[in-house]
């Protein structure tokens, strides 16, 4: 079937790409455009590894048709660091040992970013709710929670649980 033209903004860059109607946003970002920080996990919307921000909101790119991204702004993990400097959330994940195998990390960080962008001082409960759609099979979540908690203004080093 004929490809259709998709125009979107990815990490502040305007991109036009011809895609199959049935291609998911995940497939286009990874396979056509090389944003391999977007991970394919379960392919059914359960694990959150494919999370990207669409107009600032976290979505499952595996359950999004690429053509549905027409005209929107997408942020992938590649869009966070700037000038060779990690984004503060990325740095906090490194500093707090919140990364093990790393497969869930891009999605986890993007969900955390969406939370902190509109709620810079979330409660522990709000952090858990915001990250509820991102599964991690290594860390046991404690250090991930610790990393996000450390980004609250005047945070103490330990999350209160």
């Amino acid at each position: 079937m004929k490809k259709q033209l998709l125009s979107m903004n990815v990490n502040d860059e305007t991109i036009e790409v011809a895609v199959e109607a049935s291609a998911s946003l995940l497939e286009v970002l990874r396979d056509e455009l090389g944003y391999i920080g977007v991970k394919e996990g379960c392919s059914e919307g359960a694990c959150g590894a494919c999370t990207v921000l669409m107009d600032g909101r976290p979505v499952r790119s595996c359950l999004t048709l690429a053509l549905e991204a027409e005209g929107s702004s997408i942020t992938t993990i590649e869009g966070l660091a700037s000038g060779g400097q990690l984004h503060p959330i990325q740095q906090a994940f490194v500093d707090r040992g919140a990364v093990q195998c790393g497969f869930c990390t891009p999605g986890m960080i993007l969900s955390a970013k969406a939370l902190l962008d509109h709620n810079p001082n979330p409660s522990d409960e709000e952090i858990k709710d915001a990250l509820a759609g991102n599964f991690c099979r290594c860390t046991g979540y404690a250090k991930i929670l610790d990393a996000v908690c450390s980004l609250r203004p005047a945070s103490s080093s330990k999350p209160g649980r």
Binding site: M1, S22, L63, E68
Partner: protein
Amino acid sequence: MLPNFKYVRPGSVEEAIDHLTSEGARVHAGGTDLLGCLRDNVFGALKVVSINALDDLRGIRQTPDRGVRIGALATITQVENHELINERYKGLAMGASEVASPQLRNQGTIGGNICQKPRCWYYRGEFHCIRKGGNLCYAFGGENQFHCIFGSDKKCCIVHPSDIAPALVAFDARVRVSGHKGDRLVPIEKFYVLPGEDVERETVLEAGEIVTEIILPPIIEGTRSSYRKVRARRSWDFALAGVALALVLKGGKVESGRVVLSGAAPVPWRSHTVEKVIIGQKLDSKTITRAAETAVHNAEPLAKNSYKIPLFKAIIEEELTKIAIG
């Protein structure tokens, strides 16, 4: 990779309906259930009709009679956070907040949520079950721990997966259905189809028809509402058992209202038996205990889901107690 299909994004409801009457066309709103079904090969699609350019179907606003109109494309997040809904239809906001994960709530729409396909693993898996046109429901004699305890009609024992639909039934919402022959407003209770009526469909939607909006009636003074969901996994999951309440309390007594169960039946299950016990009564502990007992009286648990009986009793008792306290 999904099997390929044609993709169209019509600019009007009429155009969308035209597209949807063509062979193998499927409607796309949030897309989260559609893509899952296509990937699992539950059904195919020759044409995907995205209704996301139909801005008229967005938004949540008060109607002239002080009810609320929710556009079919309102996302679950928007329903969850909307001021009017939180203020007057708390049980609906609570239901929305219990749906799936933050990502899916950002994508999923209320129209899509009430039209969800069942999550039964035989239906989603490689079984040509009765709901897909086969002869047999594999869950009756199989792995049925997440299946229904009411309303199977001995044909198919799915549960309806929505957390929002039970709250909408509790509030007596109506669904606007648009198609070639025009619009019709369907009380949401009549929107769903039991296996005994037609085992191959979940809703009354005909080919070429779509949900365009949901209308909540004005709230009656003294209404108290809630939604409670129990799931196997704290982070996110479908309901093992749930209850939506919308009760009108006057002078300490339940004047009217509805009790609707989720995770219980192939449709959002209105518990007329509980309603009968509590309406006209004070919500004291005796009435509440009797209501909880009555709720599961004529339940028909399967081999692996009888745990739902004490679960429903407990949550109905707890939620009625909370409503009584106010």
